[in-house]
Symmetry: C2
Subunit: 425 residues, 2 copies
């Protein structure tokens, strides 16, 4: 782990991460998108064979496969999935918005309606990053928003199946259809539609660099949630921090991915030393030791600051995905936090609690994008539509001003649309 | 104008528009972005000379230029701009959201904060598409959201200046800084920052294909409002529609751009004929006749339907930017409208009213993207941040479930972050 002192000119280096896009990926993804747009299902079968090494006979997960999966999943996991669903639902229901109507002026009605998206695609990664928790987090807000059809895509495993836990989570969350296709080709299928897979209005969910690049390329054709990068945590700790807990929190972040980033910012030099020692100790017994070690060596940082004000300044600069405030008075710091996807307050709120079932969403802005992106929410699955009504008298009040404004913009046709109405009896 | 009957298989052709992106544009924009990222202001001066033919001595509009511009603008325009500001502000203030806090469970506090973006860039096109109304529409919601710094970029005119009406609108709307740079290079400056122009969190505003492509390319590095295409209107009319008003409304749309689209969907065959005749008549006297004529010939459509239900079905399929309901009972149709940027109800609410000063935003989703995009609003200038607090007892309630869930996802480091806290006294 690299250690930094508090010199301001070091701050920019805190943010240094590996670049994660190459021209090579763009070309591969461009070709895949064109192939799927042109050849539909046939392209999906061929690409799944070529890229995943799986020869599928059907893209859609059958009812029989769904039943089989649910039977394979331990009862205990079903119980935990249902508990998580309940808590996530409870939190996200508070995000539901109502439209508004304004009737302040005589003869005028205007407002804004909130309408659910009709069809949404949820991308679920395969392999070691295949998380049932993500299925819940990405689907439940869409259900609450009132999305009519939720379609999940995920690459098949080596047996040509989807992991039972993923299917169980999909069932519990309320996914309508599951398709065994992943990568850029799955994004293409959702963006363009194929014979089997419906075109959707929005694609959400994390994925590797091919998935992220494909999502960016189809953005505009459909909406997307965000461009997700590797995960990160920034922990602000004062002398009340417990070294072994904080070391465990940094390792939990680092075990995701070698590109993941864990940063500790502390006012306490002894704590900094102790966390570093604890990290080394705890890494030894970790199944994902190599991944976590690489992440911490490349991107992990411990920064000593003179006070908590400076710590929060650094947090706002980094704009972390997850921000732990492991301090005596965490609520006192909250109002100073300007850029963070999700904030975890106090010593008994480790980030992993939010990963699973506390309630707030775990799909969060990464790589400093908490400056402008938000946690996934019910808002992501609705659109707004404004409306306006003027009666004749109200129109006559403002008509001349509108026509004049249009003329100053050299839009005579606009002015005329208004003038014809003003001239009428 | 092409006429269609009501056969379903014709519907897909209603949506046909010219493709508006080419590999050529992508390459040009890629080079411009790289140039500005590397060379900053120097690249901006050079590109402005090369592309706009203007040799600037300074990028920033000076205080003296601002004063001079305000003196040049007619008093009447200032009055109309202020009226528009008042009405736009009044509508958008109703969009302001509060965060929430949930304290339903003992020892648990969680919620969502709404925070303004810090810096926003507003792109204002030059030439004939340079509209003071757009300056108001794109800036006022940002001010209401609480954005600390609003930076405007716009290409200089042939005299190396910005049009006085644009500067007046910027002043009235509350823009903090104006820079004389346009095109992809302006987008690059806002995305990366230069010596003079600050990096922003989000770029909003319409532009040509180079601007739109640049916005898409920097999306993820910063946020953007949407990928804007040519403007469109769909008018639903029953026998109560007035042919000359509706013809004027179609022409108002068509005069924007040869790629603009105006569609009339009506239940009344006589009205369809009459509107077509009126369009020809009114086009004759229009300054922008050539543009409007080309737009109507290429993209204009009149569609005859058997009833209003079918008319709204077509509207939902097209997902128009602007939807006029020129019918006897417009409010009765509103609830059936699922996809439309902004809806104009009744005969005395022409779309141009919304373009200028009624209140709702005129920056709207185009090219069918009202399926998933929304009108520009205060929401575009805030981000959300969630927060979570558990006390020790509350953590002990759910800790085992969280640890178990983490283990099923093979994330032992996650489980340990929880277990260490459960084991502690």
């Amino acid at each position: 782990m690299r250690k930094f002192d508090t010199k301001k000119d070091e701050y920019s280096r805190i943010l240094q991460r590996q670049a994660n896009e190459t021209a090579d990926v763009s070309q591969v993804v461009t070709n895949i998108l064109a192939d799927v747009e042109k050849n539909g299902d046939q392209a999906l079968f061929q690409l799944t064979k070529k890229i995943d090494g799986i020869e599928l006979t059907a893209l859609k997960v059958s009812e029989a496969e769904m039943v089989e999966a649910l039977e394979k999943v331990p009862e205990k996991l079903l119980t935990v999935l249902k508990l998580a669903k309940e808590k996530i639902t409870s939190f996200h229901q508070k995000q539901v918005r109502q439209g508004f109507v304004a009737t302040d002026e005589p003869g005028v009605v205007m407002g804004q309606r909130i309408l659910p998206l009709e069809k949404v695609g949820v991308y679920v990664p395969g392999g070691t990053a295949s998380y049932p928790s993500t299925v819940l987090m990405d689907t439940i807000p869409a259900k609450i928003a009132g999305v009519a059809k939720i379609v999940m895509v995920t690459p098949p495993n080596q047996a040509g199946k989807v992991e039972p836990a993923i299917l169980a989570a999909a069932k519990i969350a309320g996914v309508d259809e599951v398709y065994k296709v992943g990568g850029a080709q799955a994004v293409a299928a959702l963006a363009y539609g194929t014979e089997t897979i419906p075109q959707v209005d929005k694609i959400v969910g994390p994925g590797n660099i091919y998935v992220a690049t494909a999502k960016k390329m189809v953005y505009g054709k459909v909406d997307i949630d965000m461009i997700a990068g590797p995960s990160d945590v920034l922990i602000v700790a004062d002398e009340s921090g417990k070294a072994n807990w904080l070391a465990a929190d940094m390792i939990a972040q680092a075990e995701h991915d070698t590109l993941a980033q864990a940063i500790l910012v502390t006012t306490d030099a002894d704590l900094a030393e102790a966390v570093e020692a604890e990290v080394s100790k705890q890494l030894a017994a970790l199944p994902r030791q190599k991944i976590a070690e690489a992440s911490l060596n490349q991107n992990g940082k411990i920064i000593l600051v003179k006070d908590l004000k400076e710590a929060v300044e650094i947090a706002n600069l980094v704009a972390p995905e997850h921000l732990e405030l492991a301090v005596k008075e965490p609520f006192a710091l909250l109002s100073q936090v300007k850029n963070a996807g999700s904030v975890f307050l106090g010593h008994h709120t480790p980030e992993v609690l939010g990963d699973y079932l506390a309630g707030p969403n775990h799909t969060l802005p990464t790589e400093g994008t908490a400056r402008f992106y938000s946690p996934l929410s019910v808002d992501d699955f609705v659109k707004k539509s404004s409306y306006l009504y003027y009666d004749e008298a109200a129109l006559k009040e403002v008509g001349a001003a509108v026509a004049y404004f249009a003329e100053t913009e050299d839009l005579v046709g606009h002015a005329r649309s208004m003038q014809l109405r003003l001239e009428a009896d």
